[in-house]
């Protein structure tokens, strides 16, 4: 392989068609499509490393990955070049040169997810792959009150899909808030890291709080370390990786 340099790429994708980010055999993935486009552009196999795995149907507005590409290639043109090879549901927004020590996953200090809920009685064709259709009225004030209990360093076992192997279930949530814009309710969560399905279970729990159906406080649910006391796992299509900080 020729002389290389490391680049950090910020990409956006509509996850509807994909079995998640990470490459798999016999399944279409964002990484698989991306690496195939890289090899078409550069004429050699180039692997990429993403900032996280996303599940099937989950989207990304600003997903970060790194790759080592031929040193001669102008990084400020890479988004234009790659976008001509990528399918139209994946797009490079921005590319920049980074130090060889930069790692999309390990150098990350904070991520923000957005979860989008369509909160009206009738469904909407334009949101079918973009949001969770939730027909019962959500009280944003009640949701924000519950969200404030999520903030801080806690053991989030109650908000993790059962059977996920992980060394520690403690995470530091730096921000958690809920906003309404017409029929669209958005949950934003920022943390140093997330457990498997954590955002979707937090959202399911906040939705229960928003309808007054949550029978105990989020604080008590956290302390119990019991997944069965939190709310349902909200469906994947409402989830967006929103921002990644280094």
């Amino acid at each position: 392989m020729s002389d290389t340099k490391r680049v950090k790429l910020t990409i956006s994708y509509d996850g509807t068609r994909y079995h998640g980010f990470q490459i798999q055999n016999n399944a279409i993935t964002v990484q698989g499509e991306f690496e195939s486009s890289m090899s078409k552009l550069f004429g050699e196999e180039i692997s990429i490393t993403g900032c996280s795995r996303t599940d099937a149907g989950v989207h990304a507005q600003n997903f970060v990955l790194h790759a080592d590409i031929p040193a001669f290639f102008p990084t400020n043109k890479i988004h234009l070049a790659l976008n001509t090879f990528l399918p139209d549901d994946i797009c490079v927004l921005h590319g920049e040169d980074v130090d060889e020590s930069f790692h999309a996953r390990y150098s990350c200090v904070e991520k923000t997810y957005r979860y989008m809920i369509l909160n009206r009685v009738v469904r909407d064709p334009f949101y079918r792959t973009r949001a969770w259709h939730f027909p019962y009225h959500l009280d944003i004030e009640k949701m924000n009150l519950a969200a404030s209990d999520i903030i801080g360093e806690h053991d989030f076992s109650s908000f993790m899909a059962q059977g996920s192997p992980v060394s520690s279930t403690v995470r530091d949530v730096r921000a958690c808030s809920v906003e309404r814009d017409g029929d669209v309710v958005s949950v934003y969560i920022t943390a140093n890291g997330f457990l498997y399905n954590m955002v979707r279970i937090v959202t399911g729990t906040l939705a229960a709080a928003g309808t007054g159906k949550l029978t105990e406080s989020v604080r008590d649910i956290l302390l119990s370390c019991d997944r069965t006391r939190a709310g349902i796992t909200a469906p994947p299509q409402g989830l967006y990786l929103y921002e990644v900080k280094y």
Copy 2:
């Protein structure tokens, strides 16, 4: 057939998957899917009449149709009942009883279309089937100046796809304006009726005005009755039937 009553239904659809509204042999259409769902709900064949034909890939936020349905059926529940049978890219928003003289197409006095343009250099996966990706900067003031020439009763031959059979090419445009919301530029046009591809040709022409590439005024283009002097036909995926008045 049992005793019937006429209902007016307001529906919304994502046109991406469809070869337009109107039923055709060997092609999937909104009308075809809708009539098939009606027959599942009512156990008999019921035909519908739409307010207009929309082209392949064109969307509708508030499309109106009428149908004669069994008189016993509660109209205030029809959206819930039909939505369980309809595919998730078509949705009934609202149903109401109307007089037998109501006709979705002939009773219509005014329609508004919205045309959505994604105006930024890099494309966006979430808008790929929802907007026209236009990478050159659009000057909204210039577009609105050109749009003001569109307003009024004119012969719109210059803004009609060639070879369309029509008895008169005069239409009365009541409003035409352009708005920007971040990277999204929207063109709104209200008229008593539209010629074939009229909104898409107006949009193509306004986009040329917005980049300073239009070499003559919209007034002169109108007077020429010459299609070749107007702008390009903007692609279908940015077009939405936005409102229909009776």
